[in-house]
Each structure stands twice: as structure tokens, then as C-alpha cells.
Symmetry: C2
Subunit: 785 residues, 2 copies
């Protein structure tokens, strides 16, 4: 074990005291920040909020990482998993000066310190957890579970970076965190940076003991060794001893990381290293009050938030509090003006090496745009609508293949998928790129390599968490997944959207590449799968997110998909949801028409309509591939059987165009909206998702009650594609019937045709239901011209 100079450790201990002091100040003080006056009740905040319990440990780690950075000019960022360690991280970025650079009002002097204290957990101030406004953070300490997946995502293709990822023992109980330890099977020491997980155990979550907090070192050692790590324990409650042990352990871990990287980079080693992990056991609320009102505090769950309460009104508590606060000797830490004393200030790393200033934690600063091929190179020749079948996603796969080629040098693009790249018809990627695995490769493996950038792991959480970490450190990517199971990581999509909603308001946060999510294997085409595989609900979730970041695209064919994908891959600071199925589907638009259509977001398709020069009797709108198919077929049937009925077909590719423009920047102005949908004609709308979502969107538009929507009505089973649309009332015949019924208000001719439609429907239904084998599809062509 190396040994760190005692004098330096003592300075580090003082620096740690300063961080702890500032942490407590944020929770308690609204005045007299340096205790230069005798402490009075009115110096104490009227409402005490914040989390002391985890904070001393977080600060200890910060201080020691600073030393590592100084000694090695190391490039390190700090991800704080423990949800409410906010005040500790704020204390540290304040001490190192990055906070004041970004928020000049919170200056490094007495006045600034007072502002730092006052803003914390105060209306209009900052939350008690690490959040977007915290410099140095790419990880919100709110919904727990993602610190390791974010850390590994940050480290991928970032060879010089070390990501210190602190896992609290509460977070360690979450499923996404437990599922993320295995990320090291995907970390390649040759090209990726390193993650140094620090499992910080203090025994409790809010009020109960934790599983790992209560586990023996032997069990923890087995568990983490089983995941492939080299486990280092540091434990204690005697600060100077813990400083010594932790410093020595950090040195060992750092040396191992660099030696593994050297082995791989200089000596060509292809073995997966046993990367180090540190288990740090220190008391909850360490250095805080030992006992209050006869109850043990330090080391118990009672230290989780405010260890001593009612300080204003209880003299005994005030006494405990003041002794506690003065135990850090603020007079030795800060000078008269509130500046950190020089001997401590010298412990701060320089410039962008300060973890609060590291550009990897403000990834837009490092963002290099993707070198994208012309998406039109992958387009499909469509001389006439509805004459050819293609798997649209296959064209995207070809484009993704070439994106990999063009960006091979800059190494800033990855593709994430729960083992469905081929199944989703994106397999052309494998012409140039492999699945990533750092484990031994078997001869029967298909395109698997340690150098692969196709990240396939059967975990939506891990796919998405990695991608988020990759994006927030300035890179690009795409997450493709089964539509129904996109809900598995829906809460992550929400939290990332919220991150972006906040970050775009902060001028110092540079734009990052958008989170692009491709949903395929959709509810309408799950053929041999059952009802559990059918759920378009992520659309509904995304509709609740702000117009400033949320985008939903439903390209109906390959050329539209390519145009949309190109746009999404170029965009910044959005969450782009792209929904399209993988099965062969009819193609509608040639390339130029597709580009124009996607640029507008929605179009009237004149070639499918017969309302030239007149107002239509009914508007048939559609969004999504299968709804488009059924709508076009329905419109064809109506045009051929009731030519005097004027039908207009409107296709929507950008769902947000339907929102009133005050709600979403893509919302069409009302005049344009009425140009397409008329002011008062019935609209029969076939929608990919849950139908009533459309009502949520079009409220505020002219006469919204006339919108009659068909969509996925939560009717599903193992059945044919056509039966699926019948079950959900969205088949061509049902759309025809609806259109005729609604147009009947202006037309007197339709009842016999409605009967005919009903008859066709009945025949098809009974055919579907009685004849289980050799089931021919209702031809998708029988209605083409």
C-alpha cells in the first residue's frame, strides 16, 4: 500500500471540514455564515431541510479525488448517486470556485457564502439533491438507480476519462443499479475510459437498514467479484485513519486502472481486466451530533436528514448545534472576508481539471457533430404510391451502417438495443460494426467483438442509461427497442426530458445531442406474440413533456423515416420518439415528397383524395404506418364507390403539429390547420397509438369535437395484422363506415354502402376466426389503382 504524506492529509482533512461546514451551513444558517457573531436563533433558517446523512462521505470522496487529479493531472468527473447529497456537492464546487464562476452572486466571500446557504432548499433556490444547475453533474440525484449506467455511458469512447461513480446504499437496492454492475463486460480498456464505482455504505436508507449496508464484507466481496470487479474495502469512523486508507486505496485503484489501460493499449492485452471498485463504509451523518435528546444520531437512520431539529426554539438543541458547527473551526478554514485560506485553496485542481468545470460534465462543450451521409442515398424509388412493399427500417439500417463508417475516426456514435438489431431489420449495421462484448468470443457468435459499438444487452434500463451518459458527455446515439417494452425505461425517458427542460434554461449548459428512441415491432404487427407485447403507451408519456424538448414522429414509410432520422440525428436537446414497424409495408412517397412532407409535419395527400377545388365532406386523417395503410385503403374504397363523396386524406408525420401553436413550437398556426382539416367537417382520424391521445392534443383547435379517432384500443392477441385493425375498429371497412356515417349528415346515399362495408367486415372476421391455418392476409393491394 502506498502511504500519503501526513501533512497533506491533515490539510485535506481541513478541506473536508470546510466542505462539511458549508454543508451544514446550507441546511441550517440564513445569517452569520462564518459564526463571527455569537449564534442567535434568528441566524437559523425557519424551516430546516436537507440531507446531512450521506454528505460527509460524498465530500470525503471529493476531496480525495481532488488529490488524485492534482497528482496525476487526471481527467475525472464525479457522479453522485446518493439522491440527496446536494449540499455536499454544492459545497465542493463552491470551494473549488466553479460555482461562483457560473453563479457570480454566490461569490467566494462572506456575502456569497450567505447566498449559498440561503438559496439551498429555499423557494426559488436550489433543490436538496444534485440537479441540472449543479456544475460538474450529468446525473440528477432524484430517481435513483442510474449512476452506474450513466457512468459507463460517459466512459465509453472516452479513453482518458475516469468516472468516479458513487453508489449510495439506498440506490444500491434499486433494480436499475443492480442491473448496471455488469456494464464492465462491455467496457473495452483499449478505447474506453474507466469507471471507478465507490459503493458508499452507511447502513440505512431513509429509516430502514439497507441490504448491502447489513451484508458482511465477505458477501459484498463475493457479489462484486462475481460481477467481475476487484474489491477494495475502506471502513472506519476515525477520520485520519480513513483519510490514510482511502488515499492509499485510491492510489492503488488509479494505478490498476492505468496499468490495465496500458496493457490493452500498449501491449495489446485483450483480457477483460478486473476493474477496481471501492466499498467505503463510514457512519451515516459522520462527524455530526452523536446524541440528541438521549437518542443516538450519528451512525443511525436519524442522521439521514436534519440530525438536530428545533434549533431555534430549543436551547439544548441550539447548544448541540453550535458545538457541532464550531467543531469544524471555521475560523481556521476561511479568512475574515470568507475566502478559503490559501493553504487549503492550494488543494484545488487547476482550471478544467476541477470536477465542477470538467467539460465532460457539460458535454455540449465537447460535441462534434456527426458526419452524416445524404439520407437520400438510402431512399426508395417510389414512382407511384402503394405499389411496392419494403421493410422501411432496413433502409435506416443501411444509413446507420454508413454513419458508423463515416464517424469511425471520431468514435462518437453508438447504437443501443436489447438484442433486436437484426430482428428490427437494422442488420446492415453488421456489415461494418459488431456487437460489443469484452468477454471471450465463441466461434458460433455472430458479429461479436470487444471493439463493437452495437450495444446489445437485454435491459432497456442499461441501453438507455448508457446512451444518456454517452449523450451528456457530448456524443451521439440511437436506442431502438420494442414499442411495448419501451415502457420499461419510460421513467428514464421522463427524467431525461426533465433534465433537458431544465438545462436549456441554463445558458452555461451547452446543447447536447438529442435522445433518439426508435420504437419498432409495434402493437399492430406482433403477429405471434400476445397482448403483453402490444402497447404504444410511450407516446402518451411523451405528450406530457414540454414542447421545448418533446418530439414524436410517425413516419409512414421508408423515405419519411430517413428524412425524420436525419433530422433527429442532427438535432440537439430533444427527446425524439420515432415510431415505425419493421415488417414489409407499402411505400407512399418519393424522396422529394417525403422531405416536403416531413418538413411540413403533415400534408394533405391529394393523390389519395378527391376533393379538388371543393371543401371535402369528410377528412380522413392518419398518423402511423398501419393507420396510413388502412386510411388510404378506406379512401380508395370511398372514392370508387361514392365518387360524389368528397374525401380528403391528411397524413401526419410530426404529431406535435396538431398541438395548438401556443403549446408546442411545431404546432401549426390555426389557419394552416383549418386549411388541412377544414373548420367544421368531420375528421375520421386513424392513429397509431391510444386514440384518445389525439383529443388531448387537438383541444384548443377549431371545433375539436368533430375529431373522431380510431386507434389502439387495448384490444390485442395473437392474430393477423388485419384482425388486429378489425379488433380495434381501425380497419379500412370500419373507417369507411365511420366516414360514411359522419358524412351522411351532408349526404343521403350511403346506407347501402355502409351495409356493404359491414358485410365485408363480417366476412373477413368470420374467415379470420374460423380458418386458423393457411390464413391469407386481406390483400394490401386489392384496392390499388
Amino acid at each position: 500500500m502506498s502511504h500519503v504524506d501526513q501533512g497533506r492529509l491533515e490539510l485535506m482533512h481541513k478541506y473536508w471540514n470546510a466542505a462539511n461546514y458549508l454543508t451544514i451551513g446550507q441546511i441550517y444558517l440564513q445569517a452569520n455564515p462564518l459564526l463571527r457573531e455569537p449564534l442567535r436563533p434568528d441566524h437559523i433558517k425557519p424551516r430546516l431541510l436537507g440531507h446531512w446523512g450521506t454528505s460527509p462521505g460524498l465530500s470525503l470522496i471529493y476531496v480525495h479525488l481532488n488529490r488524485l487529479i492534482q497528482d496525476h493531472d487526471a481527467n475525472i468527473i464525479y457522479l453522485a448517486g446518493p439522491g440527496h447529497g446536494g449540499p455536499a456537492l454544492l459545497a465542493n464546487v463552491y470551494l473549488e470556485g466553479t460555482y461562483s464562476e457560473i453563479y457570480p452572486k454566490i461569490s467566494q466571500d462572506t456575502e456569497g457564502m450567505q447566498h449559498l446557504f440561503r438559496q439551498f432548499s429555499t423557494p426559488g433556490g436550489v433543490p436538496s439533491h444534485v440537479s441540472v444547475p449543479t456544475p460538474g453533474s450529468i446525473h440528477e440525484g432524484g430517481e435513483l438507480g442510474y449512476v452506474l449506467s450513466h457512468a459507463f455511458g460517459a466512459a465509453f469512447d472516452n479513453p482518458d476519462l475516469i468516472v468516479a461513480a458513487v453508489v449510495g446504499d439506498g440506490e444500491a437496492e434499486t433494480a436499475p443499479l443492480e442491473g448496471a454492475w455488469k456494464s464492465l463486460q462491455f467496457l473495452n480498456p483499449r478505447r474506453d475510459g474507466a469507471v471507478l464505482p465507490i459503493l458508499h455504505l452507511n447502513g440505512y436508507k431513509i429509516s430502514g437498514p439497507t441490504v448491502l449496508g447489513r451484508a458482511s464484507n465477505e458477501h459484498i466481496h463475493q457479489l462484486l467479484s462475481g460481477h467481475g470487479y476487484d474489491v477494495h474495502f475502506v471502513e472506519g469512523d476515525e477520520p485520519m485513519q480513513v483519510h490514510q486508507d482511502f488515499a492509499a486505496t485510491l492510489d492503488v485503484c488509479y494505478a490498476k486502472i492505468r496499468s490495465y489501460q496500458e496493457d490493452a493499449r500498449q501491449h495489446g492485452s485483450t483480457q477483460r481486466p478486473a476493474w477496481p471498485v471501492i466499498v467505503l463504509r463510514t457512519p451515516k451523518g459522520w462527524t455530526g451530533p452523536k446524541e440528541v435528546d438521549g437518542m443516538a444520531i450519528e451512525g443511525t437512520f436519524r442522521a439521514h436528514q436534519v440530525p438536530v431539529a428545533e434549533v431555534r426554539t430549543n436551547a439544548e438543541h441550539m447548544h448541540i448545534f453550535e458545538n457541532w458547527l464550531r467543531s469544524y473551526h471555521p475560523e481556521e478554514l476561511f479568512d475574515e472576508q470568507g475566502h478559503l485560506v490559501p493553504e487549503l485553496a492550494q488543494l484545488v485542481p487547476v482550471g478544467d481539471r476541477r470536477m465542477g468545470a470538467n467539460p465532460n460534465a457539460n458535454g455540449g462543450k465537447l460535441l462534434v457533430d456527426l458526419d452524416l451521409p445524404a439520407f437520400t442515398d438510402y431512399g426508395i424509388e417510389v414512382t407511384k404510391p402503394a405499389t411496392e412493399l419494403h421493410e422501411s427500417t432496413r433502409q435506416l439500417g443501411k444509413m446507420l451502417r454508413d454513419i458508423f463508417v463515416r464517424n469511425a475516426e471520431q468514435q462518437n456514435f453508438r447504437f443501443f438495443c436489447p438484442d433486436e438489431t437484426n430482428s428490427n431489420r437494422l442488420g446492415n449495421i453488421f456489415e461494418v460494426e459488431n456487437r460489443c462484448s469484452v468477454e471471450a468470443i465463441s466461434p458460433s457468435d455472430d458479429h461479436v467483438s470487444a471493439d463493437g459499438r452495437v450495444m446489445e444487452v437485454l435491459s432497456e434500463h442499461l441501453c438507455q442509461g448508457w446512451l444518456e451518459g454517452y449523450l451528456l458527455t457530448g456524443r451521439h446515439g440511437l436506442f431502438a427497442t420494442y414499442e411495448a417494452f419501451a415502457m420499461v425505461s419510460a421513467s428514464m425517458t421522463i427524467q431525461h426530458a426533465k433534465w433537458l427542460e431544465e438545462s436549456i434554461k441554463l445558458p452555461w449548459r451547452q446543447p447536447v445531442s438529442s435522445l433518439n428512441i426508435l420504437l419498432t415491432s409495434t402493437c399492430w404487427r406482433n403477429d405471434h406474440n400476445g397482448f403483453s407485447h402490444q402497447g404504444p403507451g410511450l407516446i402518451d408519456t411523451m405528450l406530457t413533456k414540454k414542447g421545448s424538448v418533446a418530439r414524436i414522429y410517425l413516419p409512414p414509410d421508408a423515405n419519411c423515416l430517413l428524412s425524420v432520422a436525419d433530422h433527429c440525428l442532427r438535432s440537439h436537446d430533444y427527446v425524439n420518439l420515432i415510431v415505425i414497424d419493421k415488417q414489409p409495408q407499402l411505400q407512399w412517397l418519393n424522396q422529394q415528397d417525403a422531405i416536403d412532407h416531413c418538413t411540413r409535419g403533415l400534408s394533405t395527400w391529394n393523390w389519395a383524395s378527391n376533393d379538388e377545388h371543393v371543401e371535402p365532406d369528410v377528412v380522413m386523417a392518419c398518423a402511423g404506418d398501419i393507420p396510413t395503410l388502412e386510411t388510404i385503403a378506406a379512401a380508395w374504397w370511398l372514392r370508387h364507390h361514392i365518387p360524389e363523396l368528397k374525401v380528403r386524406v391528411v397524413n401526419v408525420v410530426d404529431l406535435m403539429t396538431l398541438y395548438p401553436s401556443f403549446l408546442h413550437p411545431h404546432g401549426l398556426d390555426e389557419t394552416t390547420f383549418v386549411d388541412h382539416f377544414t373548420a367544421d367537417k368531420p375528421v375520421v382520424f386513424a392513429f397509431h397509438g391510444y386514440p384518445r391521445a389525439i383529443h388531448e392534443i387537438v383541444h384548443g383547435r377549431t371545433n375539436p369535437a368533430r375529431f373522431h379517432v380510431r386507434g389502439f384500443n387495448e384490444e390485442g392477441t395473437t392474430t393477423t395484422p388485419f384482425d388486429m385493425v378489425v379488433l380495434n375498429g381501425m380497419s379500412r371497412y370500419q373507417l369507411c363506415i365511420e366516414a360514411m356515417r359522419r358524412a351522411t349528415r351532408v349526404h343521403g346515399l350511403t346506407p347501402p354502402l355502409i351495409a356493404e362495408c359491414n358485410d365485408m367486415l363480417a366476412r373477413h372476421k368470420s374467415y379470420i376466426r374460423t380458418n386458423l391455418e393457411d390464413m391469407p392476409e386481406v390483400s394490401d393491394w386489392h384496392w390499388t389503382e
Copy 2:
């Protein structure tokens, strides 16, 4: 190691052959089920769908568990994690006769076998994964990750039961599965049954290698030992050897389970046992074709689905297929009539011991209703609305306490929560009940015991998965969680709702207790937390689920909460979402009024209105506690400042009443709806959740465009409760302004009052924003009479 009689193993091997034969038949054959005729192309299904890869292993396990059941009269259910092992499980429940008892058309003869084959993965048939219609199942093989949490939930308070839980190596990669291994820290051998996890590794998921499939036995041993298990490996590709090893291992595991239980039950041992886990490594697609077209199949990812395709058209493939199929010697397994031969039929356990017939897998059969106290015992005296503040959830906590007491004997109620029981003001539970942990208890722990039935683990996935398993085996419970983080397990809520949507259509599935989810710590009252903690999105998710199972309640006060909770705890086959905050809140209704109100689902609150005997000028509607507060305050202000303006207040507690009645059974008939909301008057609606959800709901109602909704607009930060409603445009002043503006169409008096409201708002806003400390709330009382 024990040794199982070779003759018996040979019979079991034949039985296994029969199961494999039936599995392949389901994937391939539409005729000639017993190969009694020469195989012709037209006997083969035109579209080959299904998953062979995992099936032989699943059947092997089934056959061996049957032996264990026979030898020990053991009470065992089988949870199949591997998503698409459907045909294997169907084969086994068919062989044991339970399938034919439930579905007589699929009889145990040649004709029934043909039906069995035809229905599989066929339109109108059954899906290729284990699903609700599969007897013996409480676990859908769709969205992977929950087999262990469901298994442990089933085992809790089920002392005699052993749950065999098969984890596929694909599922083993998911976060929820990895997070569920630790469930054994919560399993008490004295009172709970046992879970026997069988990690079935075959090396691949769909097309890529898996992490554990590629891991060494040493690493797997460490990992599972680290989780606390006693690890047993069985591996091989030589069937008879694997039979012998697996049988012996099962015997060892069974003996250990029973001895641990005896230690705890007879000898008072309180140590947590090292429960056994089996790691079974067998080839993917075991016993299938070794090679097709020169490519290795068995043991590779190519065996995942259909190992040999194009059988109809490719003679070589047909040859491979026929040889494969005949290798099981169907003529030795089934007699001329297609009955299983008697020497194999004797391997089937008896009656309800058959795993397809075990009542634990059809939990409604075992359901004992909760003994509920009169919820009115916990009611709050409300002599006049809006005069008292109470923490409403605290009253529920008292009721839950007494539910624990009254059902202590029948041991069929548990409470699940991610460590927030106290924080959510439900702490009265701890007067009689403890947190559950089977680990060592520390003196500083608070109400922790191995006998506790408060299941606190910081994992929404685990809380919900356990509860689902507990409910589906015939018990009762409640899951309480932070509103925003309920989205973490939203996909589980969806899948459970889908399970219920399917199961209520199956007459043989007995009703089970509802999944009750209490959301508290809501978006409106997250005070010191930030934007990441504010999200009412689970409401939107639930709105997409069918009216047959989905319920959403927004009780505005304690008496309503109690009435709603009582109803939900008595109900069956629903997912009940109950949303209410934990902070002190004004109380509105006395007990009888609350009961009447909740029974109706919504009411006009005359005491808050001034529209007696006339149509109101404006309806002020509200749903949720904070929206109710703001609406009542706004109505008060309007009544006092513009008494000639007629205001009606409608409070909605059962959100589903607003749906058109054809969509949801709770939907009010249109006449009643109009009685409350009028036919054409403006409605200003203050809603707890995302506002546009209301438009989704009320579409189809009379004149829905007149609904103007305020709600959570995704505006949040660390701030005061009043600032939150201002930020989201839902404060009393903003509601007043909106009401006046809308009523202005019929009224000419309001502009100066609108100005006054705006002025009040501005004053409050500037006050909130500039004066960070000692921030007084806008009094909630200043408007009471």
C-alpha cells in the same frame, strides 16, 4: 449425492421426449400430429413461429419437478421466466391433463393434439409465450424481469409452498431480475414458503451471447453466493447424465429447503438460511438439429426460434426435420388414439398437485377476504368544511394498522413501500407491525423484525413485483410510493392491468384482490425537492388501460380517502390508483357526505356554490386535493366579490366518472353529467395531473370544448406550495381570472376584478420571488367564512 433409480429416469427421459415432441409439433405441424402417415409438406404449417431454444430445458425442469411432487407430495408451482418458452409449458400442462380439463377441445387424444398444434402462434390461437390462458401460470412471459419478484411474492406467508422460478439467461440481464435476487433477505423460513431459483443458461438471448451465459462458473458462484444463496451447478449435453445430476441436485435442494424450514419452525433458528439455487447449463435448442445448411444450430443462437426453416419447400430441410421429430419416437410415447402411454402417464402427479392445477397459480381459489374494520372509525369530525387541517394519509395509516391486527391470524395482508412508510404519514402501522428483514437487527434499528409485514425496499420494481405475486396467489396488499417515482414501475402496472384484462375473460380464473397503489408526496407538495420529483404521469398511463380493470381516485380529504381505500381493499381484479398528498390539508366533508360523494364519484358541492335554483354562469370543477383547495378558494373569492356571478363547484373523486359511459363502467350517464356540468356553460377545471388528460377523458361528452383545464403543466422547482400552483396557472387567482373571463361572455362586470386578481397574483409572485427567507405561505384560511 442421492441417486435416482435408473429405470425411473429412463421413463422420465421418455416423458421429456413427449414434451419435446409436443413442443416441436406446436411450432411445425398442422396435421398428422403423431406422424402415423408419411410426413408431407402440407402437414407443415405455412408460417413457422415459436421458440424452440429454451423449451427443452423448461420441459426437463418440469418433468423433474413432477418427480419431486410425487415423492414428497410437495406443493410446487412453476414460474417460467424465459419469455417464449410457451410451447414447452403448454406441452407439459397438456401431458398432465390440466389443459384438457380447462379447454376440453384440446383433448388428450389425436384430435386434441392436432388442435393443440394448430392453435399455437396462430390467429385466434395462443401466443408463443406463457400467458394468462396457460394453466399453472401467474407470470406472463412477455416483458422480462419479474419472475423472481413474483416468485418471492407468491412464497410470502405461504409456508407450505415451493415456487420453482426459472430464470433464463436473457431475463437474467434485465435490471428488475438482477434487483430481485436479494429478495431472500426478506424471506422468513418460519412463516414463508421457499423459492427455488433455477438459472437456466444456454448462452444466448435472441442473437447475442449473454453476460451470465458467458461467465465462468466461478463468477456465477461468487455472484449468487454474494446474494446469499447456496449454489448448485448442473451442466451437460448428455441427457441421461443431466437427468441423473439434476434429479440428485433437486433432491439435495429439496432436503435443504425442508431442513431450513424445520430449523426455523421446530427449533427456533433465526438465522437466514443460505437457500439453494440451481444453475442449469444445457445447450440452446438441446436435442434439436445439430446442423442445417452447414451451419451449427444446437447450442448456438440459431436455435433460438425455428431451428430448421422452409421445411415445406426444401427437401433437405424436410428430411432434417422429419429425422429430428422421429428421434423422439412418438410411437413409443402415445398410443393409437394419441393417449400418453400408461407407463408415462403414471409420472403425472395427482389432482391439484399437478402444477397446472395448483390453486396457488389461480389464487382467487384461495382468496380469503380481508377482515376490514369500519373505515368510519378513522374518520375526522368535520362540522364545517375548511376549518381544520389534517394529514389525511395518517388516518389511513391508523386503518392499515388495524387491518394488520384483524388479519394477523389469516396472515394475508402486507404493505409495500420504498422506505417511505413514515415519511408518507402511515407510521401508525408501526404500533403493531414491523419492517421485514431477515438479516441481523441492530440496536439502533426502528421497528425491524424478521416477522414484519411492512416490506420496505428501495426498489419500486421489487415492491410491486412482490405484491403482484402475493395477490396472484390469493392475498391482499397495498403499495404506497412517491407519485413521481411510480413511473419507475409503470410498465409493471401496465402488464398487471393487461393480465387482469385477459384473466377476467377466462371463467376458470378466479377473481383476485385488486392491485392497490397509493401515490403520495405528489407534484404539488415536493417543497425542498426539485423538478425531478414532480410528475403525475402514472394517471396518463392508467387512462390507456381498459375500463374493465382501471380505476383512478383522487380523494380530496381524509374522509374521502378512507371511503375510497375501503372500497379498493374490498375490490377484485382492478388496478386502483389512489392519489393524495401527505401534508396537512384542509378537510371538506364529514363522514356521511364523504361516503355519499365517493359512492357517486363526483358531486356538486352546494356549500361552495351560489347557483341555487339557477343555471350557473360557470362551473368550477376540481379533482385532487390541491386543485380542490384552490378551487374552493377561488369560488369563495368570486362569491364574495361578484355575488351576482353564479358559480357551481363540482368535485371529482372518481376520475372515471367523467368518461362517456360506453367507455367505462363508472362513466356517468349523460343526463347526470349534464346535471352537474350543464350542457353549455364554461367549465374551469383544476386537475391534479397533466391538464390535457381531462380532454382525453371528456371527449364524447356534451360540448367538451368548453372544458378549460388547469393542472400540472410540467412547471416545477424547489419552491412553496403556493408558488407551485402559480407556476402552473392553477392558483385560486388564476382560476378566478379564468372563470371571470369565461363568464364575461354572459356578464359585464368583471374586468376590474380581473385586474384585482392579477394584481394579487403579481404581489404574491413578487413576494415569493424576492423574499427567500421566512417565507409565509399564502394563508389557506384567509378565505374561509
